[in-house]
Symmetry: C2
DNA sequence: AGGCTTTGGTGTAAAAATCACAATAAGTAC
DNA sequence: GTACTTATTGTGATTTTTACACCAAAGCCT
């Protein structure tokens, strides 16, 4: 093989770390590989990038095929390009992470075929390829992100309680339950002005029902434009 | 061309945004392209990744060939993969930024052949490919980085004055001269404990000479280990 | 030598942000 | 209605951040 040919004997893929939150723990959506290499192993959903497809588009496609979701939060993290990361050839992969409302996730043909399943982010076992490393990097990035931008809302249903939001933050930041002071948390969050109170309140719980809040996208944009930082 | 073949009709490259600081302005090292496409245009130094070379290694190689420097600060930023970003084919590039002490930069055969030159980061004109976009992203990342980690030292000579350090921060953060309060800056920096005072003082200046400081790598590691944040 | 010019170096008080902390309210279950 | 569970709210202590002005030390000039 000539040198020029060998330069082109390579491919790129995208891998998607899909985070969800079920009220208790931070989860990641993994698939069980149906083909070699690593057949039977759990892995991050991903695919080769089509020749006429932008990287970002490929990541969106992988996400939609598996979850049926579009227009969700999706952000590139970085590229992973160790020579031997793929046993069958030279494949560089670009990792993305996305945040979805777990209740919106529906089983699509793709996810059915690949036995997709939510896993606790800290109980994933040994994954295919260098996917443990990719997951760790994305988790790190998510932790960083929630401190600098109010992205937490992306993981919750449209209407949620402040307690749910707090639990989400504690879960992402890997703090014990109650690790964030309740009063201070509420003060801070409400003080940002990106939440609006709904008319409705929580139903069907065996205790005092909580007010429901919604995320205000306009205020959020304004918030970002002014370059505020977001710290719990 | 079969579909499988076309998947492999692609290549990846690295592009390196090399930042330096000359005491006044933040600079970026650009090369003038000697070959098509974009012949004669200024561009970020970069190269295709060799078949048996890790991404990070390729970035180090590009940096060393151009500047003669090894073991300098180098960090991956992200991949750029728009379909049409390279006129001759599908090339995904991974952008890195590095911070070097501009005084250490020596003209190597590679930099001579490519007429490398330092440019003010805000006066680069129109670059080849999508390099304006890549530069903007890396600059953004650098701004972010200096607020969260004491990387500023990487751009200064081993012994430097606090005023020089402050000017560097003002330059990177795009603040007016004196945009950071001198007293508060010094308090904060010295309070971090990552600087040690040298015996020597500044020489050959027509005013009161300043004390020289050095960066203490051990304290820095400890600093990072404790997870402190760094904010000006 | 003495004064001019230039940059280096230092402290304090007000304001803001953060932190620690506990009692009452509103529902359901029995 | 009593017990149980979670929701909601405010205050004072502490820490961090900000704003701000003067004297010191060197070279230069006459």
């Amino acid at each position: 093989m000539s040198e020029v040919e060998s330069f082109f004997k390579s491919a790129f893929s995208v891998d998607n770390v899909i985070f969800g939150f079920d009220g208790g723990d931070l989860k990641v959506l993994l698939i069980q590989r149906g083909a070699a290499p690593y057949r039977g192993k759990w892995a991050l959903p991903g695919d080769l990038v089509y020749p006429n497809e932008d990287l970002d588009t490929a990541a969106e496609r992988v996400l939609e095929q598996l979850t049926g979701l579009r227009d969700v939060y999706l952000e590139q993290v970085k590229a992973f390009g160790a020579v031997d990361r793929h046993p069958l050839g030279r494949v560089i992969t670009v990792a993305y992470f996305s945040l979805i409302k777990i209740s919106n996730y529906v089983v699509t043909p793709a996810s059915f075929a690949q036995s997709a399943k939510w896993h606790h982010v800290h109980q994933v076992g040994e994954l295919a390829f260098d996917h443990n490393q990719i997951l760790a990097t994305c988790l790190q990035q998510l932790k960083q992100k929630v401190r600098n931008a109010p992205v937490g809302f992306e993981l919750l249903p449209p209407k949620f309680t402040l307690t749910a939001l707090q639990q989400l933050y504690e879960s992402v930041l890997d703090l014990p339950n109650g690790g964030i002071d309740k009063r201070n948390f509420r003060k801070k969050i409400l003080g940002m002005g990106v939440l609006v109170e709904c008319e409705e309140i929580q139903e069907g719980v065996a205790h005092r029902p909580a007010k429901l809040y919604q995320f205000d996208a306009d205020r959020y944009d304004q918030f970002l434009a002014e370059g505020y930082s977001f710290d719990i």
